[in-house]
């Protein structure tokens, strides 16, 4: 009884049903995104990277948008540091996921360097959607593991199969990336503030696309977040009043 009481006091023990639902969601996200690793493998090799280089990116960088950005920039004949800078700036958002996850997961110090490698869009979204720390940890771990294995395995398969597949565009694989981002974004658009931020970010990104080098428009679009926050409280207040 005491053990149970202590457990419940710290953080309610999730039921088997809740755990199963978390594992199912996490596994589904992990599999879906893992599959787009195939698109990455094909794209990277089609853009002139070797199979070991392609696999090294998925194993060591493990953040899809940065990997796609790096491959695109290298294919464009970019300097390695400029190419890496674009990819790095795309990866900076993981820092903010980490900020939110650190308070949610409260990981012990020795686990942190390992867990850090898995701090990406999908693991953050799944973990943040869970009610309570235990389910968040479970969701983070299952998504991270499924995704890491799936992403690297499908990257290898895509890289090896690139030659026989021909044009990846013919298979529609270039739509996998944006569809993944969209599916991650959709549950975040809860209030007017989020929707305004998303809309402004799209306008900024597309407006800058023809003007700035690859990788920079997305950084400009990130300014949508502070800009929307800086707008005087009139907007949320109006929303409150309408309710």
């Amino acid at each position: 009884m005491t053990d149970e009481a202590i457990e419940n006091d710290q953080s309610r023990e999730p039921t088997g049903q809740e755990r199963a639902r978390t594992v199912r969601d996490a596994f589904g996200v992990g599999c879906a995104v893992g599959l787009s690793g195939f698109a990455f493998g094909v794209t990277a090799v089609a853009n002139g990277l070797s199979v070991p280089q392609t696999c090294a990116l998925s194993l060591l960088v493990f953040t899809g948008a940065s990997q796609f950005a790096l491959v695109g920039a290298l294919a464009g004949g970019g300097n390695p540091f400029t190419a890496a800078a674009g990819a790095f700036f795309l990866g900076v958002r993981n820092c903010f996921y980490g900020l939110r996850l650190s308070t949610l997961l409260r990981l012990p110090g020795r686990v942190r360097p390992l867990a850090a490698h898995w701090v990406i869009d999908e693991t953050a979204v799944v973990a943040l959607a869970q009610p309570g720390r235990r389910l968040a940890r479970l969701g983070f771990a299952v998504t991270g593991l499924t995704l890491y294995l799936g992403w690297n395995l499908t990257t290898l398969l895509g890289a090896l199969g690139a030659g026989s597949l021909g044009d990846p565009g013919a298979w529609g694989l270039d739509a996998a990336g944006p569809a993944v981002f969209l599916a991650l974004l959709a549950p975040m658009l809860r209030t007017g503030t989020e929707r305004a931020t998303a809309a402004l970010a799209v306008v900024l990104a597309l407006g800058c696309l023809p003007l700035l080098p690859s990788g920079v428009p997305v950084l400009v679009a990130a300014l949508a977040a502070p800009l929307v926050l800086a707008v005087p409280a009139g907007r949320p207040a109006a929303g409150e009043a309408a309710r």
């Binding site: 490698h117 298979w171 996998a176």
Partner: protein, 102 residues
């Protein structure tokens, strides 16, 4: 060698920012502005990435079968389709569009 340099720099940089976020003391999040910004930044970045990867063709925006595929993904999301279905619909519609329209 150039490619390996870019891979090494990207891998190191991306790992360090992940670790930094996870290691910053919780007190940094106590300020409401930081908390709201941390919540809104992914929204801005994901929206921008979705838009860019839907229409970007080497620096110029184009609307092609890929945009139709992402449009179909929006419809799937509105219908509350699961994650895997949303991505599969986008890929299938894009491939179908290219097969028909070239």
């Amino acid at each position: 060698m150039t490619v390996w340099t870019a891979i090494g720099v990207t891998a190191a940089g991306c790992y360090l920012v992940k670790l930094l976020g996870l290691s910053v003391p919780a007190a940094a999040l106590e300020r409401p502005v930081v908390r709201r910004l941390a919540a809104l930044l992914p929204v801005a970045l994901l929206a921008a990435l979705t838009a860019l990867q839907t229409v970007d063709d080497g620096g110029t925006p184009v609307l092609d079968a890929r945009a139709a595929g992402v449009g179909a993904a929006v419809a799937a999301l509105v219908l509350r389709a699961p994650f895997l279905v949303v991505v599969a619909v986008a890929v299938a519609v894009t491939a179908g569009g290219r097969a028909v329209g070239g």
